[in-house]
């Protein structure tokens, strides 16, 4: 096929549940490309010699190679290319901000729309999960034990990579289920939980041991893991899950949630099927969500599905500055979410019985760019207004959780409480590595996974070195 022909093929659109319908259910919005659409989309790739998209992918997937395999109908090969760089493509294909990573660098962007790399990644991963058999003999056991703290994307990826190298890996997870933000934060309608449970089953098949209900620092300490528990290495990937509140009056009224609590109740605890699932969540006629990131978008679309009308998003900058994935913003809008842009909450108002009744906001305008490069929002004088709501959800960021670091005083952290590491992902304690949000601050799934993979390689080298030096000693 000639490039000119390839250029003529329009970008395939993602089939999705109809907006009115999906605003009332929790099933996945995007239903996935059909095989023929995937082939057509793959043919849109111009097979650049010096493909720029690869550099945009934090884990460096050989994007043109996997896409070419899709175009040729060799899905097994496509999957092999993907899995080489990325252990969880079914997840990243759904949640990566492609528009700022790989797709934005696609050569076609100058003349229309980029190749839908994310859709294709998801297509191949979904095919592979259903139809592909992992081949290969199990690796030779090395006799080394690795403890992974936290079962989010960083921990899961690291565990899988290490298990493939023959190390014996145990994941210690605080909650009753592994997955981290993927299970407690990101809703079913964006990332079906069955995908995560299949990936986790795959890890277990590789020999990874999963121990839930274990808060490292409380149930067992890092010292104990390296001592009495007999682990050679610890990888810390406990995320940055501590929610930040705005610090405005009225935050303790009934009906005020952090997005983490709201989403955990609904996703991890299944509150959308209350009372069959016994954890309740407050539903309301009107809901307001404060924030502009993926978390805010997930919360407001969840509120909408729980019946809020209107469900309103209040954000202090304008739509362009919103850090959420473009697709989520578009979907939210289609589902009837109202946007109050350039508005900042100053007080949450309650009724005489202690319940939220409205949020008072002030209008903002954009001034000069701040240190993040985005234009700084400034309050407009005398511009206060109220938005009525009975549920108010704050999605204004998270911080490092101090539980583990407090009980591990030797672990060096920076002034925000994030763990410091060297080029090999090793912390200030020998044999203790770290990665994901607890190192970077709240970031992305693919960066966490990339850290997990890199750390696994560094850990493997470290363990090999240990073996070598032990051999020296006994020689």
């Amino acid at each position: 096929m000639k490039p000119a022909e390839r250029m003529k093929i329009p970008r395939q659109s993602m089939p999705e549940q109809e907006a009115g319908e999906r605003a009332r259910n929790f099933q996945e919005v995007n239903t996935g490309l059909a095989r023929e659409a995937a082939r057509l989309e793959a043919q849109r790739c111009l097979r650049c010699k010096n493909a720029k998209c690869i550099a945009g992918c934090p884990v460096g997937i050989d994007i043109p190679a996997f896409i070419e395999a899709v175009a040729e109908g060799d899905l097994d090969k496509a999957a092999a290319v993907l899995y080489e760089a990325n252990a969880l493509p079914g997840i990243t294909g759904r949640v990566c901000p492609q528009e700022t990573q790989c797709e934005v660098r696609c050569i076609r962007v100058g003349k229309g729309e980029p190749v839908a790399i994310g859709y294709l990644e998801r297509f191949v991963a979904d095919w592979a999960r259903e139809s592909r058999k992992e081949g290969g003999a199990p690796p030779r056991p090395t006799g080394k034990n690795v403890a992974v703290v936290g079962g989010g994307p960083a921990g899961l990826t690291c565990a899988g990579e290490l298990a493939k190298k023959g190390h014996s890996v145990t994941i210690f997870e605080a909650l009753h289920k592994v997955g981290g933000v993927l299970v407690y934060g990101i809703p079913e309608f964006r990332l079906p939980k069955s995908i995560i449970s299949q990936e986790v089953a795959g890890l277990e098949a590789l020999g990874v041991r999963i121990v839930c209900n274990t808060v490292v620092g409380q149930t067992v300490t890092i010292d104990e893991l390296l001592g009495a528990e007999g682990f050679d290495v610890v990888f810390i990937a406990n995320g940055a899950g501590l929610p930040v509140f705005l610090g405005i009056p009225g935050e303790n009224l009934l009906g005020v949630y952090s997005a983490n609590e709201y989403l955990t109740r609904v996703n991890l605890m299944g509150a959308f099927s209350f009372p069959a699932c016994e954890t309740p969540v407050l539903s309301s006629a009107e809901a307001v969500v404060v924030g502009g990131g993926n978390t805010a978008m997930d919360a407001v679309r969840t509120a909408r599905r729980l019946g809020a009308d209107p469900a309103t998003l209040v954000y202090r900058r304008s739509r362009e500055e919103m850090p959420a994935r473009i697709e989520e913003v578009k979907h939210a809008e289609q589902e009837g979410v109202q946007f109050q842009m350039l508005a900042n909450p100053v007080e949450i108002l309650g009724d005489e019985d202690g319940w939220v009744r409205a949020v008072r906001c002030v209008r903002m305008e954009l001034g000069e760019p701040d240190e993040s490069g985005r234009r700084r929002p400034i309050a407009v004088a005398d511009s206060e207004f109220e938005v009525p709501c009975q549920v108010l959800i704050e999605a204004v960021g998270t911080r490092a959780n101090p539980v583990l670091t407090q009980t591990t005083p030797d672990l060096a952290t920076n002034r925000w409480g994030y763990i410091e590491i060297d080029d090999n992902h090793m912390t200030s304690i020998r044999g203790v590595f770290a990665g994901g949000d607890i190192v970077r601050g709240a970031a992305t799934v693919i960066l966490a996974m990339g850290d997990g993979k890199q750390a696994a390689e560094a850990i493997d080298r470290y363990l090999a070195g240990k073996r070598a030096s032990m051999a020296d000693e006994t020689a």
Binding site: Q218, L242, N252, P275, T279
Partner: protein
């Protein structure tokens, strides 16, 4: 799965459960709690570790039946198990020699003061415990506390046993009578009771620690649902507490926040009854 080694009634609707959990038992200190989820689809709820046996690898929970989850727990028998138990959570009680330590427990709050009494006694304190219940049948752990405390004062609202009246009445007596000064008061129980205890000890300036019981979800600092106001500063009870300086706690706000799910709690219990799980759990 966490096996129940022992189960018995302490009082009407109050169940004593000894649960196999070696890791938690090994690290438990007074003041710690756990979060349990009895079965798939049930809620995660916090419960104090009332006692721990390192050698046997068990912890003891004292559960008062108030809603769906505690109903499930109270139906458990020896040989049954709890799906999830995580802990020990929270910061341990500050234990040192205060001289005379007075512990005030109301209802299942008495489960909180039991391990505190043991630890304070070991630290060389004279330990008195004031334990309250609606009537004689609701006074729990008197025997266990008597074994470790210098004095135990049961109180009943209806006067059917011990001191007739509220625990604060007995506490006021004790503060007034004591030849030696009361060095510290630790309290756990209904919010109204803890608030009254704090009010009583404020003027004489007796350091007072309250064990707070807000609604929790994860117990690891991830949701902020357990937030409480301590002298105007927001704290997460599961990781910053659950014990705080009682003179700084906003008890009214805590009380208000405990009402958040009244309607749903009722629906949940009714649902459980319809499933026939209210009495037996087979």
């Amino acid at each position: 799965m966490f096996l129940i080694r022992e189960a018995r009634w302490l009082a009407k609707d109050v169940r004593w459960l000894v649960v196999e959990s070696p890791r938690i038992a090994a690290r438990h200190r007074a003041g710690h709690f756990v979060i349990v989820r009895p079965v798939e689809n049930s809620e995660r709820i916090p419960l104090t570790v009332a006692d721990a046996d390192r050698v046997g690898g068990t912890i003891t929970l004292v559960v008062q039946r108030v809603g769906a989850t505690t109903t499930r727990l109270c139906a458990l028998e020896r040989g049954d198990s709890i799906l999830d138990v995580v802990g020990p959570l929270g910061k341990p009680t500050e234990i040192r020699n205060f001289g005379h330590a007075v512990l005030v427990g109301g209802g299942v709050g008495t489960a909180v003061i039991h391990p505190q009494a043991i630890a304070l006694k070991q630290a060389g304190n004279r330990v008195s415990a004031i334990i309250g219940g609606r009537s004689r049948d609701y006074v729990i752990l008197e025997e266990e506390l008597s074994a470790v405390c210098d004095a135990v004062y049961p109180c009943t609202d209806d006067g059917s046993y011990g001191y007739a009246g509220l625990v604060t009445g007995k506490l006021a007596e004790l503060i007034g009578d004591s030849a030696e000064q009361v060095g510290v008061v630790l309290t756990a129980g209904p919010v109204a009771m803890m608030k009254a205890v704090a009010a009583l000890t404020r003027t004489p300036g007796i350091p007072t620690i309250a064990s707070l019981n807000p609604i929790m979800v994860d117990g690891t600092g991830m949701c902020g649902g357990c937030r409480v106001m301590i002298e105007g500063t927001m704290m997460f009870a599961c990781v910053d507490g659950p014990e705080f300086d009682a003179h700084k706690v906003d008890f009214d706000e805590l009380n208000n926040r405990l009402r958040a799910y009244r309607a749903q709690e009722k629906a949940s219990l009714e649902h459980l009854c319809r499933l026939g799980l209210n009495r037996s759990m087979d």
